[in-house]
């Protein structure tokens, strides 16, 4: 029996879909059998980020309504044998499935997959309830902005009062230079307010946007800082102890040399 993890945030545009795609791909990269589930019915994006849009035949609603079998709706990834995606319907809305239906589908997926990653829509309404219904664990994504932290706090409150006990936190799109100058919330400040376990910090990286547009998860690109961060998150999900990435910019040999002589 696998584990179902919902990726949620409350606020829109903080990187839920990107995080889902990258964590899912990173887990597949580590040899796990993974299924990504898009529950953002009517505004699906996960297929675009994964570059699988043109392979969709059936979707979540078709499975829920019994128009097809579950494995007919699963889209196989083009890069990994063991990575699949269950797309959301685009022509319907959130109310066209019930939390019970989603729960049954997730339960079915958990039999075949080691990890089921559920991409949650923004908001706390029906779509959120659908996404959370089948999950065993939750990862809350936030960015270092007050509005995102406020919404994350709201969602954590809702998760804690549901069956999900201890959600984990991903702080996305952090910019080290802005944190240093005091213009951006720092990790400690966010953790003080939210008071949950941190599972990863993802730096702001232009390569993420480039990768999403080309339908190739960033995590495939080993040169990207964000990719390393996502790979670390995946390893932490598997239970490895991985130290948090140093957010310092890499210094050249010369500056290290200067520092050695007390000049830097």
């Amino acid at each position: 029996m696998g584990e179902a993890i919902v990726i949620t945030s409350g606020k829109g545009g903080v990187g839920k879909t990107t995080t889902s795609a990258n964590i899912g791909t990173a887990l597949a990269l580590l040899g796990k059998k993974v299924c990504l589930v898009d529950t953002d019915i009517g505004l699906r994006n996960l297929d675009v980020v994964m570059g699988l849009e043109n392979r969709i035949i059936y979707d979540l609603c078709d499975v829920a309504d019994g128009r097809c079998r579950l494995n007919q709706a699963l889209v196989k990834d083009k890069r990994f044998e063991e990575l699949y995606m269950l797309p959301a319907a685009q022509t319907r809305d959130k109310n066209s499935v019930s939390p019970e239906q989603v729960k049954d589908i997730i339960l079915e997926l958990k039999k075949d997959f080691e990890y089921v990653i559920i991409d949650c829509p923004a908001g706390i309404e029906q779509g959120f309830k659908n996404a959370v219904a089948g999950a065993d664990q939750a990862i809350v994504v936030t960015t270092p902005e007050n509005a995102a932290v406020r919404d994350a706090d709201r969602v954590i409150g809702l998760l804690e009062s549901s069956h999900i006990q201890s959600p984990k936190l991903v702080v996305n799109r952090i910019r080290n230079n802005m944190v240093k100058s005091g213009d951006m919330l720092d990790i400690d400040g966010i953790l003080q307010v939210l008071n949950i376990d941190l599972i990863g910090i993802v730096p702001d990286d232009e390569l993420v946007i480039k990768a999403a547009n080309s339908g190739e998860p960033t995590v495939m690109n080993p040169d990207s800082l964000a990719a390393i961060a996502y790979r670390n998150i995946a390893r932490r999900i598997l239970g490895d102890t991985v130290p948090l990435m140093q957010m310092e910019q890499k210094k050249g040999a010369f500056s290290r040399f200067k520092k050695f002589f007390g000049m830097g």
Binding site: N146, R150, D151, D153, R154, I156, G157, L158, E160, Q192, V193, N195
Partner: protein, 220 residues
Amino acid sequence: MTVKSNHVTIKGIRDGLVFLLDDQCEFEELLYELRYKLEHSHQNILTGPIVHVDIKLGAREITEDQKEEILDILKQKGNLLIRSFDSPALVQEVKGPPPIVTMCGMVRSGQVLHHEGNLLFLGDINPGGTVTCTGDIYVLGSLRGMAHAGISGDEEAIIAASVFAPTQLRIADVISRPPDEWESHETGMEFAYLQDNQMQIDKMSNIVRLRRDFNVFKGV
């Protein structure tokens, strides 16, 4: 259905009956058993001449409505005359100020914690979270959300917190928000109170000037 557990004990004393009502079980269960005992008792003490009855509730606290429910059942037997009704809730009213109730946890955005009386809260109150109280609010943790003390009009109520950074404060009908109306300079524990309908903030050590009765140290 037979009643196995004994939540209701009827004892005979010299000049009447004492009903001992268990204080641990559910109230509904208690009512059911009381009704059962009165209806199924074959002893003629319940059908004979007028008997004086004392009711003892133990440590159970009941509301006026619940008291009426018990009395209604007993009144069905015309010969029972209620002489006394002992319950701690009724005794407590004469006892002085209500005690402080301790709660712990975390009030997150969108969550509301309401309490009747004085509240000692262990944990944080986050922005968007609300704590309302008819009495004082003491927070051992960070107050970053909204706190409303004396919600039913008590202007004497205060709000105190280890880390005092509320989005808004209310005492009785007075609303105040930082930093327009007051600014916090202290790093230590602070509290808010009302003075001439104005919200005032002071450091905790000055609370003795506001409330003499807080200072319990009367030694030499």
